[in-house]
Amino acid sequence: MTARDKLTASDTTGRRWRFGAPPKNPTKLALTAIAVGVILAALSWLTLDNLYLALQALEQGGAAAKIILVILGIGALYPLRPAFRSLARARSSRQALAQNDLVNARIDTAASRDAAWISISLSVALAIVLMVVEFLIANDLAVSRTFFLLPLMGETLGLILQAFLTNIYIFLIAEVLVLVVGLIVAIARFTPGEAGKPIRALAVIYTDVFRGLPAIINIYLIGFGISLTGLPVLKDCSQETFAIIALTLTNSAYVAEIYRAGIESIHWSQIAGARSLGLTYMQTMRFVIVPQAVRRIIPPLLNSFISLQKDTALVNIIGAMDAFNQAKIIASNHFNLSAVTTVAIIFVVITIPQARLVDRLVERRRLAGGM
């Protein structure tokens, strides 16, 4: 016997392995999952019943609605499936243990616990959904009627979409300008040497001021202020143009910081590699540093775009006729907020594909082997 064997053999040293204990009995957890599942199923049926009454009040209680509600009612039983599976595996675990089959007892216990937690987490999710549904149908559908009056939403959708073109116009132009201005400001912050000092200082002041200034105040000042100044050309700009200028000024400050972080994240050895080949500072920035930085900052850049798109809703304070302003007019005419909900939904819907798109771009570049 070698020295190593002596050290590990329990029978010669009198030490015991600590990991040989039998698995804990998962039956209690399985029963808990079943109990939670049954309670949630009961609550679901109650909610569905309320929903059916509400639909009847809206004269939507036809056969189709009934079928859907019944299907949903059966669906509410779904969390019980893993719960019963958990109970079954708990039983076979106990049997394995009775036959001193520790390995299978452990496998069954693990499977039982997994299934129980799957069931419980489904039930929790269902509970949250039920709360939302109850909120929507509470007080004789008051919430639904205020925010989701479907006939009104359908009627005004065309007007809203048309007004949303203004938002699109503003953010498309502002996004292009922000990309350019942000990059210029970021590069200005990296101007090297003594000669670059005043440029660097200006860039710092610009980012500090416009990151601190609330976008809505900026829009207000520019939108109303510039036309009061009577400056040639500028005073005749449309509200949309003022909005674009204001949003560009505000968001460029943020985007400049994003660029800066991206540029700083490139390892100095890349600069050494480029400069050692005789490339100038600006060539190094243009061909080596900025292209790599931009690839890294695509996700934060997209986030800033999404926030810029949302900020276009602020332009209603200077009277630009965007989707939100249009919706507010509809809302006061009908004493109902559903048109505003339409605008909210549009904003959410346009941002989701953008996030997915960027995920795909990043992934594809990763797979292609570039970076």
Binding site: Q270, P291, M371
Partner: protein, 247 residues
């Protein structure tokens, strides 16, 4: 007149003295190997010659012209003095071909077609022409380092500085890189290389310099430095290398 003359240079790195009156001369077509313990300034010396690090005193002359201090056009200097780094420093967002042609096109203003033809010729010589459209991270370390050498060669440098170019490579990839350096030496390229590959230094060097205490502590032909070092410091350094099984 030596091609590279390093005269009495001084350099401090935040209280740590890197060079304390170092002098060194490299003749045309010579291959000079810098050896010495880590932190002795081998890499820093190469970076100073290439103008990537400033020096605090003394001067470096290349082909008789002062290349340190104010008024020096480092971009012009770097057109003629190529450097290859331990960590390759390839541009990860560019294909191999673009890595090699970037500087000729942007710095030397060579037409793209011509630069690409020349790059392909260089890549072919090292058997990597089929990797021209790959990105660097699809290449092995040895391949990446050979591309980095080709990238420096594409500028047609008069001098090559090689900074521990095999230190980051797995042992089985070292040979392919060294054989490329061997070919360069045979073609008469003036080279200054910092290295831990003592066997290789012994084989290709015209002169070996042992750096210690911010100076060239001992220099001489490889047979003398490796066979009969005169200084005790050199002897103890080489003994450690032998004990590590590296010589």
């Amino acid at each position: 007149m030596a091609l590279i003359e390093i005269r009495d240079i001084h350099k401090n790195f935040g209280g740590h003295t890197v060079f304390n009156g170092m002098s060194l001369a490299v003749e045309e077509h010579q291959v000079v190997c810098l050896i010495g313990p880590s932190g002795c300034g081998k890499s820093t010396l190469l970076r100073c010659i290439n103008g990537l690090e400033p020096i605090d005193g003394g001067e470096i002359r290349i082909h008789g012209e002062r290349m340190t201090g104010p008024g020096v056009d480092v971009n012009a200097l770097r057109r003629d003095v190529g450097i290859v780094f331990q960590s390759f420093n390839l541009f990860p967002h560019m294909t191999v071909l673009d890595n090699v042609t970037l500087a000729p096109i942007q710095v030397l203003k060579v037409p793209r077609a011509e630069a690409e033809a020349r790059a392909m010729e260089l890549l072919k010589r090292i058997g990597l022409e089929q990797k021209a459209t790959s990105y660097p991270d699809r290449l092995s370390g040895g391949q990446q380092q050979r591309v980095a050498i080709v990238r420096a060669l594409a500028m047609d440098p008069m001098i090559m500085l090689l900074d521990e170019i095999t230190s980051a490579l797995d042992p089985e990839l070292v040979a392919e890189v060294l054989s490329m350096v061997r070919d360069l030496a045979r073609e008469g390229m003036t080279m200054l290389l910092a290295t831990h590959e003592m066997g290789f230094a012994r084989e290709v060097a015209s002169k070996v310099c042992f750096l210690y205490g911010g100076k060239v502590h001992e220099e001489g032909p490889p047979e003398q430095i490796f066979g009969a070092p005169r200084e005790e410091r050199t002897r103890s350094f080489l003994r450690q290398i032998v004990d590590a099984g590296r010589l």
